[in-house]
């Protein structure tokens, strides 16, 4: 039955309408900027936008997993800074680049799992646990470096941000890789299925045999690890690990996730939507810069876009439901 040509699932449009809507928002935004600025629709500028988006987009993947379980991770920016300075110091101590990268990922993972343990074993609300971690990781990063940036790395390490693969910046390649894996994990694996089930109804998931604690902790671990990965790219790009890096990234990541259609109540959302959300934010910033709009006004515009996106989403859902 299914082999005969393309057959869309019965609710294809209700399923993907949200992403199609966000995507047309992104394309519309690009069209407007194309008309307003001759510099916008050029290959080099678009790659630049993707590079700008990469770091928040990677952090937002972890945030999407967490938010689908019905939680929140406020510590991503601080964990990024902490993982960055730890990695920088071991690189300065002379370890090979792959080990340094592994240290960044491991540091992020450890912070994330600690969040997960506080939430599952300690039964703290995610907001509180990660709010605490936000401050602890930031403070530790500042103590660790006495508040100073750790700068100057080998060309090999810096190429993780500045290098290109077939003309595409390495950071963009990494971002795309992360999204492919994450989309696959969310739609095709047990982890993904359980992520939705926990967010949709934690008790029903538990009673259906889902090891809720394990999978919740894993999701915070993933979020922490992706913050570590973002730290690698940011450090390589700036040639410097700063203890004050990643300030407010949690808010940008939450914004990208929410613009992408993930519900803060949990149980629904996609990483494809999140990617579009992150791109909308990057395109908006880039376009406003090209048009010479002041950074003060930019904040107002971006805030308005977040509110408008969610308003439209809720309005559409009410009409459908």
């Amino acid at each position: 039955m299914r082999a005969r040509g393309i057959e869309l699932p019965a609710d294809f449009f209700s399923h993907y309408a949200r992403q199609l809507g966000t995507l047309s928002g992104l394309l519309g935004l690009c069209a407007v900027l194309w008309a307003l600025s001759p510099h916008f629709m050029t290959v080099s500028n678009l790659l630049n936008v993707a590079e700008q988006a990469a770091i928040i987009a990677i952090v937002a993947v972890g945030m999407t997993f967490v938010i689908i379980t019905g939680g929140i991770d406020l510590s991503v920016g601080s964990v990024l800074a902490f993982a960055g300075v730890v990695m920088a110091s071991v690189l300065h101590a002379g370890v090979p680049v792959p080990v340094g990268v592994a240290v960044a990922l491991g540091t992020g993972l450890a912070c994330g799992l600690l969040n997960g343990a506080l939430i599952t074993v300690g039964r703290l609300p995610p907001f509180i646990a990660t709010l605490g971690m936000m401050s602890v990781a930031r403070g530790t990063a500042l103590m660790f470096t006495e508040g100073r940036p750790v700068s100057g790395f080998s060309g090999g390490f810096r190429s993780l941000a500045t290098g290109e693969l077939l003309g595409v910046p390495v950071s963009v390649v990494i971002m795309v890789g992360v999204y492919v894996v994450a989309h696959f994990a969310l739609t095709r694996t047990k982890l993904g299925r359980y992520t939705y089930a926990i967010g949709g109804n934690e008790e029903a998931a538990l009673l259906s045999g889902v090891n809720v604690r394990l999978y919740k902790a894993a999701v915070y671990g993933i979020s922490g690890m992706l913050s570590g990965l973002a730290a690698v790219i940011l450090t390589a790009r700036l040639n410097s690990a700063q203890p004050i890096a990643g300030m407010m990234y949690e808010l940008d990541a939450i914004a990208a996730t929410v613009i992408g259609g993930t519900s803060l109540l949990g149980g629904e959302g996609t990483v494809v939507g999140t990617l579009i959300g992150a791109l909308i934010m990057a395109v908006l910033r880039n376009g406003l810069n090209l048009l010479g709009v002041s950074s003060f006004i930019q904040q107002v515009v971006i805030g308005s876009v977040i509110i408008a996106a969610v308003l439209i989403d809720m309005w559409l859902k009410r009409r459908a439901g």
């Binding site: 609710d11 694996t189 939705y196 089930a197 949709g200 109804n201 029903a204 009673l207 259906s208 149980g267």
Partner: protein
């Protein structure tokens, strides 16, 4: 009794995307009568009442109130017209007092301040009129469910309601509280208030109702005087088929022992022992709080054991989590389908396969084709009414949701099913289907523990009956020797 018509609904139509909910329904309410609205889940009772209470807008048809045609625009408008609704979930503010709740939004004001004395005096008047001795200053959160319900009734009366809609008002009440509620309803009738009463419980219908209207598939099948009809006649009209027997119990032969519980002790259980055999239905009766659900939780690995052993097929097992229980072949159909049984925003397929995702996973990937095949099979076998496997379960009716929960455990190939209140909130037609499924399960060698508060169900479906009291097994009966009186006596400890 006055025969004057208060309210008339004619040819009411309402459609939702893909569904005709009401297809020309007529409904007529007389002054001072209790009019029962009867129908299977999905027959259109709730939709009809939501139109009357202003929550939905009708698409065609006429509503006449006291002979004048009205367009009910919203719930506030309905209240202004004298139509009040008491939903199953109350609309009370827990931290405010009884009086404050009754006059919420319409507080008597004196010199720009709320006149508390007037609130309490007038609340006491309304409550007294209902024959209720309730202090209006008490906060609502400390009240029993039945008392909260009476606060809702009082609120409706203070709004000068002439038509009162009650949706399953006895669902959470004890026998004694039901009597109090009925006394209050009779008092309302005497005052000329008309009551539309939605219930699945046939017994209540004959006790409190004057007339009954039966809905089926979005149409009105007929209106009858309660005295001129019978339970079986009404069931036949609701489901459009003859149910010769409500409990089509078939005794499957008692097979080998599958579950043996000895000395089970937890925070809520004391020294519980019993055995369960293949093909057997073990009914578990008892009052609320007797430890019935706690027994299920303990066996299913949800509560910590302080003592005792659980043997499955002769081998002692430590069941530390639901996962372990499921792997050993247990399935638990919880009492509260929406809060515990289903992940409402997920699809029929995803819910159905949730306990057995492992079975469909190879090399870390979930094989969704095999999942779909399995899900399709159960949707067909159990006749689950859904537009597709990707439909979110939140949009299914109660009976169909219950079937999805049942399929979950069929799919995980459970051999011991624990049913906790399997037919609560399920209409008569779906009830009979669930009983038949239990028979089929038992015949195929599945062992069933059935926890229920409905004695007819316990007596009708069980092979053996445990009665619990205070966390212990108080008595055990063979089905043949059990009677309603014996079970009650034992449950009450007399």
């Amino acid at each position: 009794m006055a025969e004057a018509t208060v309210l008339e609904m004619r040819e009411i139509r309402k459609t939702f995307p893909g569904v005709v909910a009401l297809d020309g329904v007529d409904f007529c309410l007389r002054r001072g009568e209790v009019h029962i609205l009867l129908g299977e889940n999905g027959a259109g009772k709730s939709t009809l009442m939501k139109i009357l209470s202003g929550a939905y807008q009708k698409m065609a048809g006429r509503i006449t109130l006291d002979g004048k045609e009205v367009e009910i625009k919203n719930p506030a408008h309905a209240q202004a017209l004298g139509i009040s609704t008491i939903y199953q979930e109350f609309n009370l503010v827990p931290h405010l007092s009884v009086g404050e709740n009754i006059f919420l939004g319409r507080e008597p004001v004196r010199l720009g301040l709320i006149d508390r004395r007037a609130v309490n005096r007038r609340a006491a008047e309304v409550l007294g009129g209902l024959g209720l001795n309730l202090d209006p200053r008490r906060p609502v959160k400390g009240l029993r469910v039945a008392e909260q319900q009476m606060v809702e009734v009082a609120k409706a009366l203070s709004l000068d309601a002439r038509v009162l809609i009650m949706d399953e008002p006895t669902a959470a009440l004890t026998e004694h509280e039901i009597k109090e509620l009925f006394a209050a309803i009779r008092g309302l009738k005497a005052k000329g208030v008309s009551v539309v009463y939605i219930s699945h419980r046939m017994e209540e219908l004959f006790e409190i109702g004057d007339r009954v209207t039966v809905l089926r598939d979005g149409r009105s099948v007929g209106t009858f005087g309660v005295r001129e009809t019978s339970k079986f006649e009404l069931i036949r009209l609701m489901v459009n088929r003859n149910l010769t027997e409500l409990f089509p119990k078939e005794h499957a032969g008692r097979g080998e022992e599958v579950l043996k519980v000895e000395g089970l002790t937890t925070r809520d259980l004391k020294d519980v022992s019993f055995t369960l055999h293949k093909g057997e239905v073990l009914g578990v009766a008892g009052l609320l709080g007797a430890g019935r659900t706690e027994l299920a939780r303990a066996i299913f690995g949800l509560d910590k054991l302080e003592g005792g052993t659980v043997r499955i097929k002769g081998r002692e097992r430590r069941i530390g989590s639901p996962r372990a229980a499921i792997n050993l072949g247990l399935g638990f159909l919880t009492e509260d389908r929406k809060a515990q049984g289903l992940v409402l925003p997920l699809s029929v397929k995803d819910n159905l396969c949730l306990p057995s995702v492992d079975k469909f996973t190879s090399f870390g990937l979930v094989d969704s084709k095999r999942e779909r095949r399995a899900a399709e099979r159960y949707v067909k076998e159990l006749r689950i009414r859904t537009p597709g496997l990707d439909q979110k379960v939140v949009y299914l009716s109660g009976g169909n949701q219950q079937k999805v929960v049942l399929s979950k455990w069929l799919c995980s190939e459970a051999e011991v099913f624990i049913f906790d209140e399997p037919t609560r909130g399920v209409d008569v037609g779906a009830k009979a289907e669930i009983y038949q499924l239990m028979n089929r399960l038992a015949a195929s060698g599945v062992a069933i523990i059935m926890i229920s508060s409905e004695l007819p169900e316990i007596l009708g479906m069980s092979d053996r009956i445990l009665v619990m009291r205070g966390g212990r097994v108080a008595c055990e009966f063979e089905a043949a020797e059990a009677t309603q009186e014996k079970i009650l006596e034992c449950a009450l400890g007399e």
